[in-house]
């Protein structure tokens, strides 16, 4: 490069050839770099991006009704939703249910519609088992089929069940995502808030953020002095003490949670100590409530605060504080106004890391908290394992993911920097 710059301006043809070969060389370098990172990219794609895409897809996927009841959905397309649909809809649903080859399809349909309108499960399964309707054929007029179906189950005369079918006729639905933020679509597709006695997730999301914020504050309050102290020690002693920070970090979360149960229970070590010192007369309730959750989560997440803080603090020159003091500042003012601002990057990174890890916590609140201390992940697990409503579980997962991304965007906006972990 320097050689070309120093040389006299070459003729035009030469410079074009040079540019070409330069471009070729840099392209080749880029390809080589790309080839080297290719395994990592493929790995990330398969283990990270594809699952997330699948999760997001499942959160809006709604195949059950469209797959099982194509004719009914078609007939209901021009239905005004004010009164019971015309007889052709009854004929269509009998034809659709009769055409299902596997009872599992009817079961999936029943499950989907039941979450929309309670009671639809027994209506669909009861009708499915009653098919074929006695004395009907393909030539039977729709009106007669309607009467027979109403005889099988009079609930077919209620519009609510038909609304549930009409609403879910599309292969995609915003319903799971709306439910995740306590909203719903009414019969005409307008978005409204759900009834107060069905509102759950708004409160749980707020609680999740509340607990995470509290844990982050405690981690900062406990971690900052410790990280500062570590940064003032000689590297050898700092390393020894760092191991003390890291050993719990390397211990299984379950072991640590079990240890807290032993410590905090009403006949546990902490309560015995407090009573022995005559600080309390009765055992304090430390377990299965917010206290237990916050104590254990703070303990588990503390290293994630200390490590970024320490790595930033280790790089802060001591001369600035000394200079401030020598210029007449009190030590405290020098610490707050000169030292602390230099560690903002560490505080930001540590706080963000602890907060984002906190909002996904599941095991600790499940084992140490009461019903009012469960965070969003608990409900994701509930929907995944127990209710087997994976659409809802994925919608809540998407909500958590969105919350994390928003937080990260806010962090970048505020600090105008990339996340630095030292």
């Amino acid at each position: 490069m320097t050689a070309t710059l120093a040389a006299p301006v070459p003729p035009a043809a030469d410079s074009a050839a040079l540019r070409r070969s330069l471009a070729r060389a840099s392209r080749r370098r880029k390809w080589r770099a790309f080839a080297l990172t290719l395994p990592l990219l493929v790995f990330l794609l398969l283990t990270f991006l594809v699952p997330i895409a699948a999760l997001l897809e499942r959160a809006v996927e709604n195949p059950e009704v469209a797959r099982a009841l194509p004719r009914t959905v078609l007939v209901l397309r021009d239905w005004k939703r004010a009164d019971v649909p015309r007889p052709e809809a009854f004929a269509a649903i009998v034809a659709d249910l009769g055409a299902l080859s596997d009872s599992a399809d009817a079961g999936a349909l029943a499950r989907r519609l039941n979450s929309e309108k309670p009671g639809a499960r027994s209506l669909i399964m009861g009708t499915y088992r009653a098919l074929p309707l006695e004395g009907t054929s393909a030539a039977t007029p729709a009106g007669a089929i309607r009467d027979k179906l109403l005889a099988v189950d009079p609930r077919w005369g209620e519009t609510a069940y038909w609304e549930a079918i009409a609403k879910n006729g599309s292969r995609w639905t915003p319903d799971y995502l709306l439910t995740a933020v306590d909203l719903r679509r009414d019969a005409h597709g307008a978005i409204e808030r759900v009834d107060p006695d069905q509102r759950v997730f708004g409160g749980i999301l707020l609680r999740t953020f509340g607990i995470s914020a509290l844990v982050t504050l405690w981690c900062l309050a406990l971690g900052y002095p410790l990280a500062y102290w570590l940064s003032t020690l000689s590297p050898r002693r700092a390393n020894v003490l760092m191991i003390v920070v890291l050993v719990p970090f390397w211990t299984s979360i379950l072991v640590r949670v079990a240890a807290w149960i032993v410590l905090l229970q009403s006949e546990g070590l902490v309560n015995h100590a407090l009573q022995g010192l005559h600080l309390t007369s009765r055992p304090l309730e430390l377990l299965f409530n917010r206290t237990g959750v916050v104590v254990a989560m703070t303990h588990i997440l503390l290293p994630f605060m200390i490590l970024p803080l320490y790595s930033v603090m280790a790089g802060v020159p001591t001369s600035y504080v000394r200079a401030a003091v020598s210029l007449g500042s009190t030590p405290l003012a020098a610490f707050v106004r000169v030292y602390v601002p230099q560690t903002y990057a560490g505080i930001g990174a540590g706080a963000l890391l602890v907060f984002i890890l906190s909002i996904g916590y599941y095991v600790t609140p499940a084992l140490l908290g009461g019903p009012t201390d469960q965070m969003l992940s608990y409900y994701i697990a509930q929907y995944t394992n127990v209710d087997v409503n994976w659409g809802m579980a994925c919608a809540l997962g998407a909500l958590l993911l969105a919350a994390t991304l928003v937080l990260y965007a806010v962090y970048r906006r505020v600090t105008k920097s990339e996340l630095s972990l030292g």
Partner: protein, 343 residues
């Protein structure tokens, strides 16, 4: 020469493997005192027929079965499930339809035990209980259970809407026979939640069946709802816990076979064995859950019978769990419960 013998050995091993696999059966249960009783009554006697029983514990997560069935990689053979899951899983194609001709005569079993995909293993009941050492005169009705003036202290309740709404309505004066009729209406559900709300500040929730006896023994609660077998298990260890059978809700657990199980034949054989009168009687001797095979009752002594939820004295004021009601309304009521418990 050596190479060929190696190949022969490898081939022999390959042909042997499936044979070995057939001699092993994976049975899945809910753990705890119930699993111990199953081990004594079902697994150990069955192993004498030459099949090794591998017992696995789970907490009723149907997602695990669904994943196995969907991915066509079924490794569980006979699975214990709760009643709502039998009907749901059968509808949704998670379970094999049972070949009843290979199990026995349907008429030998209590009617609720006979379904398309599952056969009842035992009858259990959710009842109220208290520690006889600490509370001499216990509650007699659900109204007493709700009476925090007469019996101050915390109450243990299973976390969730199921059972609690029924208990609340009975405490509010609804007759057991009318409970599900009332609960099916919006006003009835409101009434149940309102009544549950009266107790809210006094509730200690439990999730695992082993918790309520521990709560009672530790003195954390003055009374609790509990699966009756757990009280029996605790009393066998020298505790003096008492059960109030009035207004208890009884229900069954079932055996099912996940759909596409390659070991289906052996699973059915095991289920048939566990459903015989002898095995059922042995089970009831080990934990106080009622047999589903009617002939097992004749093999039990009066003392054992008196502790079973199926005995006439215990079941006369009890309520049968309404499967159909909860299959339809469960999701809605559980969500409402979550909302109620959060606020």
């Amino acid at each position: 020469m050596r190479k060929s013998s190696c190949i022969a050995a490898a081939l022999a091993a390959l042909t042997c493997l499936p044979a070995l696999a057939q001699k092993q059966l994976t049975v899945v249960n809910f753990g705890g005192a119930n699993a111990n009783a199953q081990k004594k009554a079902f697994y150990e006697p069955y192993e004498k027929t030459g099949t090794k029983v591998v017992a696995v514990e789970y907490n009723g997560e149907q997602a695990k079965i669904k994943v196995m069935v969907d991915s066509k990689n079924v490794t569980w053979d006979a699975v214990e499930v709760e009643s709502p899951d039998v009907a749901r899983g059968c509808d949704e194609g998670l379970f094999e339809k049972l070949d009843w001709s290979r199990i026995g005569n349907k008429a030998d079993f209590v009617p609720a035990a006979v379904t398309d995909c599952g056969i009842g293993i035992f009858v259990w009941s959710t009842v109220m209980a208290w520690d006889g050492d600490k509370l001499k005169a216990g509650p007699k009705t659900w109204a007493d259970f709700w009476d925090t003036k007469k019996f101050p202290g915390k109450r243990g309740l299973r976390k969730g809407a199921r059972y609690n709404l029924e208990f609340a309505l009975m405490a509010d004066g609804v007759k057991p026979a009318d409970v599900y009729k009332v609960l099916a209406t919006k006003e009835g559900a409101d009434r149940a939640f309102r009544k549950l709300g009266e107790l809210k500040s006094n509730i200690q929730w439990w999730e695992a069946g082993a918790q309520p006896p521990q709560f009672l023994v530790a003195g954390d609660v003055v009374m609790t709802t509990v699966f009756n077998g757990r009280i029996d298990a605790a009393n066998r260890e020298g505790k003096h816990l008492q059960i109030g059978w009035v207004g208890g809700i009884y229900d069954l657990d079932y055996w099912v076979i996940p759909k596409g199980d390659p070991n289906k034949d052996a699973a059915l054989k095991f289920i048939a064995f566990a459903s015989t009168a002898d095995a059922q009687a042995e089970y009831a001797k080990n934990i106080a859950y009622g047999p589903t095979n009617k002939h097992a009752l004749a093999k039990l002594d009066a003392k054992t019978l008196a502790n079973l939820p199926t005995s006439p004295a215990n079941s006369k004021d009890a309520l049968q769990f309404n499967l159909k009601f909860w299959a339809d309304q469960g999701e809605d009521l559980e969500k409402r419960f979550a909302s109620w418990a959060t606020s």
